[in-house]
Symmetry: C2
Subunit: 328 residues, 2 copies
């Protein structure tokens, strides 16, 4: 019996979940729910329904886990506590500062309806968080480092697009290689914001725009660019489309710490992601945690969970016996 998956929201993340479901034989896409007119949404999976988001509650007995693919700014704070009334849910809520509040709301709703809600699933928060946790428990005396990139930052790309004279733009966040090396060398460095990441912008100008003025405005933009060394490249619209339409990302989590009676031995744990498609990788994680949500619910568990609360074996379609023989 395959696990029936629902997708709420059919953007990059929703399409990524749809593709990821196809890579997992024990999962099956039952339906996609959208706030658009369902007749206008063409999906990739034969046999799966496309329905109005408002009709989702009617599916509560036909879907094992609903994967919520909305945004963290306005969608998920509303949707996760709402949909967990009807379904086991998984979301990718990634506003770090608001996780405790989101957790509390989802936990209350999930416990009332006896469902499982797994929040903040993805790679950061998600896999990076797990690596921070494992690193901290193994090396309690040490330092954490997280670097992002090289990858496209949607927020920074949007900020550049809002500059007057900019027709289109993509922004890459790039970790500073020498900073990474300093961490790996075990010198426990402290970094300023500028020392950890650089920013690179590829900008298509509006006809007649003043390149120097645009560049100046980008490089001095508070919060987004002023604290970084930023490079601005002006390119044609064709080049932007041809060379910069992907959504790559990635990054590094490092834990550097010491052990021994006199703290004489140093250890480095490094976790690295290099991703061609940020949303598809995130989707692949969501799908693995959907499997876990279904299993936990079948065991009678309920409430809000994060990646910290899920034993790794729940993520795999293999039995404990198979896992011990093949991967341990």
């Amino acid at each position: 019996m395959s696990i029936k998956i629902g997708i709420l929201g059919y953007g990059n993340l929703g399409r990524g979940v749809e593709c990821a479901v196809r890579q997992n034989e024990d999962l099956e896409l039952a339906a996609v729910f959208t706030r658009r007119d369902p007749a206008s949404v063409a999906i990739l999976t034969e046999g799966a329904a496309v329905c109005r988001a408002a009709d989702a509650p009617d599916w509560k007995d036909r879907i094992d886990v609903m994967i919520l693919c909305g945004g963290s700014a306005t969608d998920l704070p509303e949707q996760t506590p709402e949909y967990v009334k009807y379904f086991n849910v998984v979301d990718s809520f990634d506003t770090h500062a608001k996780i405790p509040e989101h957790y509390a709301r989802v936990d209350a709703a999930a416990k009332e309806s006896s469902h499982v809600g797994i929040i903040s699933v993805g790679w950061d928060p998600g896999m990076f968080s797990l690596n921070r946790l494992y690193g901290n428990v193994i090396l309690p005396e040490g330092k954490d480092y997280t670097f992002w990139g090289k990858g496209v930052s949607q927020g920074h790309s949007d900020a550049v697009r809002r500059v007057e004279g900019v027709k289109d733009a993509k922004q890459y966040t790039i970790p500073v290689e020498s900073a990474l090396e300093a961490v790996r060398d075990g010198s426990d460095p402290d970094f300023t914001t500028r020392e950890k990441h650089t920013r690179e912008c590829f900008v298509v100008l509006e006809e007649g725009a003043d390149a120097a003025k645009v560049e100046q405005e980008i490089r001095t933009m508070p919060n987004y660019f002023a604290d970084y060394d930023t490079t601005v490249h002006f390119i044609s619209e064709e080049e932007l489309l041809a060379e910069h339409s992907g959504i790559p990302h990635g990054g590094f989590v490092l834990r550097s710490g010491v052990t021994g009676l006199d703290k004489e031995n140093r250890h480095l744990v490094e976790y690295r992601l290099k991703l061609d498609s940020n949303p598809e990788f995130t989707s692949s994680i969501l799908v693995a945690y959907a499997r876990a949500a279904c299993r936990l619910a079948k065991e009678g568990q309920c409430g809000c969970k994060t990646v910290f609360d899920i034993a790794p074996a729940y993520l795999s379609p293999k039995s404990g016996e198979e896992l011990r023989a093949a991967l341990l």
Copy 2:
């Protein structure tokens, strides 16, 4: 109330556990158990007892978790099923092929005595296994790679020491950098044994030994060296002591896989360890899982577990709330 830890076996691993306990405020070393004469064993922790291994059962109400620090070849297959009768236990059993059998024996004994026994804790098996599991569930279509080193292999060092004419020796296992790069580049390469690792030996000769003959015997030794490119350096006893008395190790686990409707996007997950002291890092992991064993037992769980079965939050002294706020 701190968690009372016992250590069975006081070699490199046992001393590492003792040091790791000191780095964790919620843990306390109650006693070290040894097969040697306790009067001959000096430990580092004031207030902790040194006792005969045979007397361990007398301590069953004074120790929350016994960490078994014996070897996998002959000690742990006997000790873990035996001591789990009296204690919650954690071991570092690392004979991969025999894990299923070890699991079954520990599980039966642990269930009968209502204790928790966590086996095969360390970095491989252990952290590397976890990374193989997470990599496989996120990228079900992909390939696994594990590289070891640069580090000292105890087994290979012992093999060199058994060669006639060798007075002392250390052997380093070294991953081939170009092989690592090929994996990172996403070409999904297949490797022969020789292509993944090289071996480097530092050898002190007995007086009058034939260096050429020793080198030939090492390089052609079946199983240990014949399938590898091996370099042999002859050095003085002083140099061996001065330069090669550490026990560094480490390695890499990589998962390379594809996502997307047409598998058009490639992703790389890389986990790396660089360790000054193999036994101290392993010990630090054992201690974190001892915390988990104690908590699971308090919840009324019992039986044999591996790292796959333990939710990460159980490893940390912090509450779920603290973890979500600080590390998620």
